[in-house]
């Protein structure tokens, strides 16, 4: 899947999650959601699908190219969520062409925790950040971080809009 499409897939999933959560808060349904991260190992009891997705993808890619590879810088594949704000700040700056608001690295909106598929290997790379920011502008999709402290997050995490699609 092209990584630009992957962004939309994840955003789409987030909106589905919003709907599910809304149904919960309004009492329409009881929902239990499990969101696994990378799954590895062999599903020995599964008669159909014994393999997972990500690890076999890397293995097959290596065999196909006769060379093991990883995407991008490959150094911070798993990064703390606090890495994300620079990306969104840059995106906001590209979009509005105004200086980013002063924002501490700890000001991470809770919904960023769902945005786990950002398709770059290192959020620290300015080039990748710029690309991401440009794409977000082009597709008029901007992620707006909630500017609140970690403590506030605990109290407000079930409310609020973190996405601005008006651009």
């Amino acid at each position: 899947m092209p990584w630009q499409l992957a962004i939309f897939r994840h955003v789409y999933l987030i909106f589905i999650l919003f709907r599910i959560f809304e149904a919960s808060t309004k009492g329409h349904s009881i929902n239990y959601i499990i969101a696994p991260s990378t799954i590895y190992g062999v599903g020995t009891e599964n008669p159909v699908h014994k393999l997972s997705a990500q690890i076999p993808h890397l293995i097959r890619l290596a065999i196909q190219r006769k060379q093991a590879v990883y995407g991008g810088e490959g150094m911070f594949s798993h990064c703390d969520l606090r890495c994300i704000p620079p990306v969104t700040q840059r995106a906001a700056r590209v979009r509005t062409e105004t200086p980013p608001a002063t924002q501490k690295l700890d000001d991470v909106g809770v919904l960023m925790t769902f945005f786990f598929g950002l398709p770059f290997s290192s959020p620290y790379s300015p080039r990748v950040v710029d690309t991401m920011a440009y794409q977000q502008k082009k597709k008029t999709l901007i992620i707006i971080l909630r500017n609140e402290s970690m403590e506030q997050r605990a109290h407000t995490r079930s409310r609020g809009t973190l996405f601005d699609r008006s651009g």
């Binding site: 990584w3 009881i30 590895y40 097959r60 065999i63 060379q67 995407g71 594949s77 990748v128």
Partner: protein, 124 residues
Amino acid sequence: MHIHDLAGLYLIVLDKALVERATGTFTATAVSDPYERFYWGSVATHQWGNVAQDIAKILYKKGLVDSDKAISVPVNEVSSSVASNSRTVANRGFKEGWKPYHPSLENTLEEDVNSVLEEDGFTK
């Protein structure tokens, strides 16, 4: 997380749902926090760069790649799922008694490789 650990988490949540339904603990009334039944499933962290290096060593020993080192390629040449960032802690799962105990990604990588080779017809 190991697939069998994930299965364990599913069972725990399923049990919880069935018990809540049977006992009426949880009826479909409005809840203040919809996240209270949202469970991350994660155990440890890894870096895709390191995973690729490990894969390189395993496949090199088997003679399937030309180098025992992994190299960087542009992110659009790999699936976005392996050039992504995600770090979560499964607090709710742990609170429900979930105890993942299966081997780490590094320790099962060879098994994964062998299974892929078997499925793709490299070995009999």
